[in-house]
Point group: C2
Chain length 283, copies 2
């Protein structure tokens, strides 16, 4: 199959068009640009690097747009996994000429290995630390490597588990609320699927950790993601429509929540003490 | 495998329990009763019989609860299909000792065969005629044979096509609004899956048409339903959770719409003239 835009051999197809390497990269960056333009992203961005393919692709793409970027990595302290992730994030930063800031979860006294179900703890900690890092470093945004596959899987998992009232994160952009030290959040690769991020990382020979987190290995969300991709293969565009639907649903059902300032750390909290400070207390 | 409640051979499993024929029937009727009790259904019910397994099972189950039932059938005038459906609905009524009222879509001047995509026309016509029939016959409710599989497939199809703002019909019960001649709607088999309705119909040897509507044969919703059932097999309870999620979402996002009385027929309408009267005018 030939590329839709030139005569070279196509390597990928998306929404009815075939792409050669060069035009696939243009397609990929065009999708990133559409998020940047739609939400008028201008200013310093803290870029969360997990060490995986998605955040590597996200960082590499943002770097093409000449933003003021501050890459950082949260070392989660998970044996045989976290250090590998950090190494890959460091390699990528070396390659692109950045220093990598590393935050160690251990330094906050949190040991994920002690929990039977560490995933929600990990989520709380990452959300908190990402925001804190960006805020303290005068960044206007935190950029994360959540892609289309992630967003739809996460939302569908909420539907499947009946966890509807906790519907959030379905949108590519979340406004800042500086009174409560909340930095804006952006998902630059929101419109791109797993496979496309992988391909972008491979074409650009980006270093990334191939390992899945050991705690996620049997997660029902991985099975769900596989199904969603199978369905997408038969109904191209389904994932995108789903993401938009969940995004619109989120806008309709999110109720105004009363934010407080955590009495311990001063960051945004639903209760008197924020989830992260409660977590630290337990440890 | 033995029945969870007795020592007989099990014929079906649901949510971790195995059932013999006798206890499966009890399980099925228990699910119907839970809808009746939850929404306090009391009074005359117009029961829509399509001739298919679901509405047959629904009618048969309601008949067990000694309601005042008025079964009716809408003959859609679809060649090689509608007459077969009517015959099966008649057989069922004979069996249970009821007369079947038949409404002919043809008498309203609507010929579905003339449309390239007749499904939405058919939906509009059925919704209108079901309500009108129930209202004119002093019924407090219309009962339809929408089951769990239908409800979840319909809602997911809305998500997949991005048709979120038209989110409706995800709830087992819709209140009456008699000022606008709107009768309450109930889905007695809301908690039961396709396979369970089929089994109920087979055990009770109910007559029903096995044919799919020729216009639905290649519908993407059939493919979607297959997927959802495959997922349900691996994650039992998923469909139920999804139904509840969509039900809750519907409650959150449905906006108040200004109802009018159609200037032609006097029934509820969003505009000056209702969709059904507009449809008749076009024919």
């Amino acid at each position: 199959m030939k590329c839709y835009y030139c005569n070279k051999e196509a390597i990928e197809e998306a929404y009815g068009k075939a792409y050669c390497e060069e035009h696939f990269i243009k397609y990929f960056l065009g999708k990133v640009r559409s998020v940047i333009d739609k939400f008028n992203i201008r200013g310093k961005i803290a870029v969360a690097l997990s060490g995986g393919k998605d955040s590597s692709a996200c960082f590499h793409a943002l770097n093409k747009f000449k933003f003021d970027l501050l890459p950082f990595h949260i070392n989660l302290g998970i044996k045989y996994y976290s250090n590998k992730c950090q190494v890959e994030a460091e390699k990528l930063c070396n390659l692109l000429g950045y220093d990598l800031e590393v935050i160690y979860l251990e330094e906050y006294g949190i040991d994920l290995e002690k929990y039977e179900k560490p995933c929600s703890i990990c989520g709380t900690a990452k959300r908190y630390l990402m925001n804190k890092f960006a805020y303290e470093n005068n960044c206007k945004y935190v950029a994360t490597g959540h892609n289309l596959s992630d967003v739809v899987t996460f939302a569908m998992n909420n539907v499947i588990t009946g966890n509807i009232l906790n519907f959030r994160g379905n949108k590519p952009f979340l406004e800042e609320n500086l009174e409560y030290k909340l930095v804006a959040k952006v998902k630059p690769i929101y419109y791109l699927k797993d496979k496309e991020c992988m391909l972008y990382a491979m074409i650009n020979e980006l270093p990334y950790a191939e390992e899945e987190c050991p705690h996620a290995e049997n997660a029902p969300t991985l099975r769900l993601k596989r199904w969603l991709h199978e369905m997408e293969t038969e109904m191209p565009g389904m994932l995108l429509n789903m993401a938009r639907s969940f995004w619109r649903i989120e806008e309709k059902i999110r109720e105004e929540v009363n934010l407080n300032k955590c009495i311990k750390c001063g960051y945004a909290s639903y209760g008197k003490i924020c989830k992260f400070c409660k977590l630290r207390k337990k440890c």
